[in-house]
């Protein structure tokens, strides 16, 4: 990635609202042409970071660069960046065509050029023939596409998307996730996407940053963050994870370093099962089991007192272990699946 051009760079960015530090020392590099996601719970500072790239908000200290140019104090209209808003923010008094062509109209482009490019955009977002409608006549998914087309039409260097799929139902959301990704690959523009939905982040992103309490906990590719979470928060927010620390950790791994292990990496075996050299184990009592169709989730209370979540796929074969509640079981996993984590950054 080092040879890639940097699209957006955050240098020690802080944003305080009164006494509250919404963004607390963020350093980030987002590369040209990538689909980058800022993931985090509400209040984690991800939206404030997005708004500072757009220019709606400005850092209290630190600096933001766009393609090497310092834009920290620039107003939104002087930045080559467009936004797809959470509520779409379509202009209700304009038609779909006028909404999409707005930025070109502001730039005083000739009418026939605007018309042609609007028609092209409508085709890109599969809304051909809808130019004369009013936004109020469209469905949620269609409005979403109009907002996307409006932000893409004059080819910004960076497109910002603020939880744009939040208002859509699950099915439409999954469909739009794929479509967004396709459009991004087709237009080749850097997308910066803000969401609190980890599944969405894993599905679409080339890389993602996990935000917590105004800080970036970890940056990396989805598989990297999932397989190798750096902090307890990242481990817990992206997928579910077991966090084991203290004496129990020492008993299992021989070191008191806190580590995480993903539920699907753990194997349930009978108490007398022997384990390989590369494996580690912990015994406990089966507390709960939940059948979830594709897989079954077990909760095991380990002898040290912690609870361990184990997920097994329902493959249809004979079970290796009696998994009735109350029976003692042995949980086993490869040592390489223990990931040491920090308490937080």
């Amino acid at each position: 990635m080092d040879d890639k051009q940097i699209a957006v760079r955050f240098v020690d960015v802080e944003r305080h609202f009164g006494d509250v530090a919404a963004v607390n020392g963020v350093n980030l590099q987002i590369y040209d042409g990538e689909f980058f996601t800022m993931l985090g719970p509400s209040g984690s500072g991800k939206t404030t970071c997005l708004r500072m790239i757009a220019g709606f908000d400005h850092p209290t200290s630190g600096k933001i660069e766009l393609y090497g140019k310092d834009v920290t104090g620039l107003p939104p209209y002087d930045r080559d960046v467009h936004t797809v808003f959470q509520d779409y923010a379509l202009f209700p008094h304009m038609t779909v065509g006028e909404n999409i062509g707005y930025s070109l109209m502001i730039k005083r482009r000739p009418k026939d050029e605007i018309h042609k490019r609007v028609t092209d955009m409508l085709e890109l977002v599969r809304l051909t023939g809808m130019a004369k409608r009013k936004p109020s006549q469209l469905s949620g998914g269609q409005r979403q596409r109009v907002a996307l087309a409006r932000a893409l039409i004059d080819q910004p260097k960076v497109l910002l998307l603020d939880e744009p799929l939040g208002a859509l139902d699950l099915k439409l959301r999954q469909q739009m996730q794929i479509e967004l990704k396709n459009i991004q690959q087709r237009v080749g523009i850097t997308f910066i996407y803000v969401t609190h939905d980890q599944e969405e982040a894993l599905t679409m992103s080339d890389r993602l940053a996990v935000f917590n309490q105004g800080r970036v906990e970890q940056v990396g590719a989805p598989s990297e963050i999932y397989e190798n979470p750096a902090t307890i928060f990242a481990a817990g927010f992206v997928g579910t994870s077991n966090v084991i620390s203290g004496a129990l950790a020492e008993k299992i791994t021989g070191s008191a370093q806190t580590f995480t292990v993903r539920p699907e990496k753990i194997d349930l075996r009978p108490l007398d099962a022997r384990i390989g050299k590369s494996e580690c184990l912990a015994d406990g009592v089966m507390r709960d089991r939940v059948y979830l169709g594709m897989y079954t989730r077990y909760i095991v209370t380990l002898d040290g007192g912690s609870e361990l979540t184990v997920v097994e796929q329902n493959l249809g074969g004979a079970r290796k272990v009696n998994a009735e509640c109350g029976t003692r079981v042995r949980t086993v996993w490869e040592r390489t699946n223990c990931h040491p984590v920090e308490e937080g950054r």
Binding site: A54, P76, A89, Y102
Partner: protein, 318 residues
């Protein structure tokens, strides 16, 4: 249960069950509930409002016998023809021009004030501004108009203040302008215009304020985001979306000015406004048909205004 003393417990219970039966009845007869809901307002709007309006229009087509002073109930359009006489046209034109001037000035003052209050003021300042707009409406309208007569008088505070600034000459020259001038501010059209704007301004501010409140901030951000500088955002987004509020406010300022007779009777010179003319025809002269016809003028002007506003797209954002 005949012959059995009514136990307070059971009577309470039967009362409760009556309530239950009633609510079930309403639930299963939604039409009846709506009828109950609307009966009073419909009676009010239908009889008191539209009924009297109909009576007014009807009377404007009656004949007034000027010798006997009687009203003869035959159909005639002579009252409307009489409106076209030079003196009546003069009144209509003067009143309409004043209403337009008052509406424009109110909108120009109200918009920035409402914009500031919605976009920038918070907490106390916002409450204070709101109170400043509402408070004058609590005191008597007549008292306020008479206070203005004193303020605008030749010996009033405005003349005094301008004299302190050495600007008396400026005031003298403005008062010499034909049409709007006069012997003093309190006896000029300019003074009347100032008082009209003062009195009706809250009715312009409140609807504009309400429609600005409804304008989402993200709409303005989207416009800036797409490259529009503040003035163009104002022109292409803010103004069109707030226009219904401006039109609503102008309906108030326009129709209130068109019908008023107190302010033209207190401030300004002896030339008549529609409200005064109506008062004179129906009160002193007893010529109710002509007064009724004259009253139809503001309604017609408003109808034309709303039609124009609609065809210019003022309600597209609704």
């Amino acid at each position: 249960m005949p012959g059995v003393a009514v136990n307070p417990e059971t009577s309470k219970r039967s009362f409760a069950s009556l309530g239950k039966r009633l609510s079930r009845y309403f639930h299963s007869h939604p039409g009846f509930s709506i009828f109950l809901l609307l009966a009073l307002p419909l009676l009010w709007v239908g009889v008191v409002y539209f009924g009297s309006l109909g009576a007014l229009v009807l009377q404007s087509f009656f004949h007034y016998d000027s010798y006997s002073g009687h009203i003869i109930k035959t159909f005639t359009v002579e009252n409307y023809i009489q409106l076209l006489s030079a003196s009546n046209l003069d009144i209509i034109f003067r009143t309409t021009a004043m209403a337009v001037a008052v509406t424009l000035a109110s909108a120009l003052i109200a918009f920035p004030l409402a914009y500031f209050s919605v976009r920038y003021a918070t907490g106390r300042l916002k409450a204070l501004l709101y109170l400043a707009v509402i408070l004058p409406l609590w005191s008597s309208y007549i008292v306020r108009v008479y206070s203005w007569k004193l303020i605008l008088a030749r010996e009033g505070i405005i003349s005094w203040f301008l004299a302190q600034l050495g600007l008396s000459g400026l005031l003298e020259n403005i008062l010499k302008i034909p049409g709007i001038g006069g012997p003093s501010l309190s006896m000029s059209m300019l003074g009347m215009w100032i008082v009209f704007v003062y009195i009706w301004l809250p009715y312009m501010i409140l609807p504009i304020h309400a429609s600005l409140e409804r304008l989402p901030k993200s709409m303005l951000e989207a416009s800036a985001d797409l490259g529009a500088r503040p003035f163009r955002t104002f022109w292409h987004v803010t103004l069109p979306l707030v226009l219904p509020g401006v039109v609503a406010g102008s309906i108030f300022t326009f129709s209130l000015t068109m019908g008023d007779f107190i302010i033209p009777g207190t401030i300004g010179n002896s030339s008549l406004f529609i409200g005064q003319a109506v008062l004179r025809y129906q009160g002193t002269a007893g010529n109710i048909p002509l007064a009724a016809a004259l009253t139809a003028v503001p309604m017609a002007v408003m109808a034309v205004y709303l039609f124009l506003a609609r065809s210019l797209g003022a309600f597209d954002a609704l």
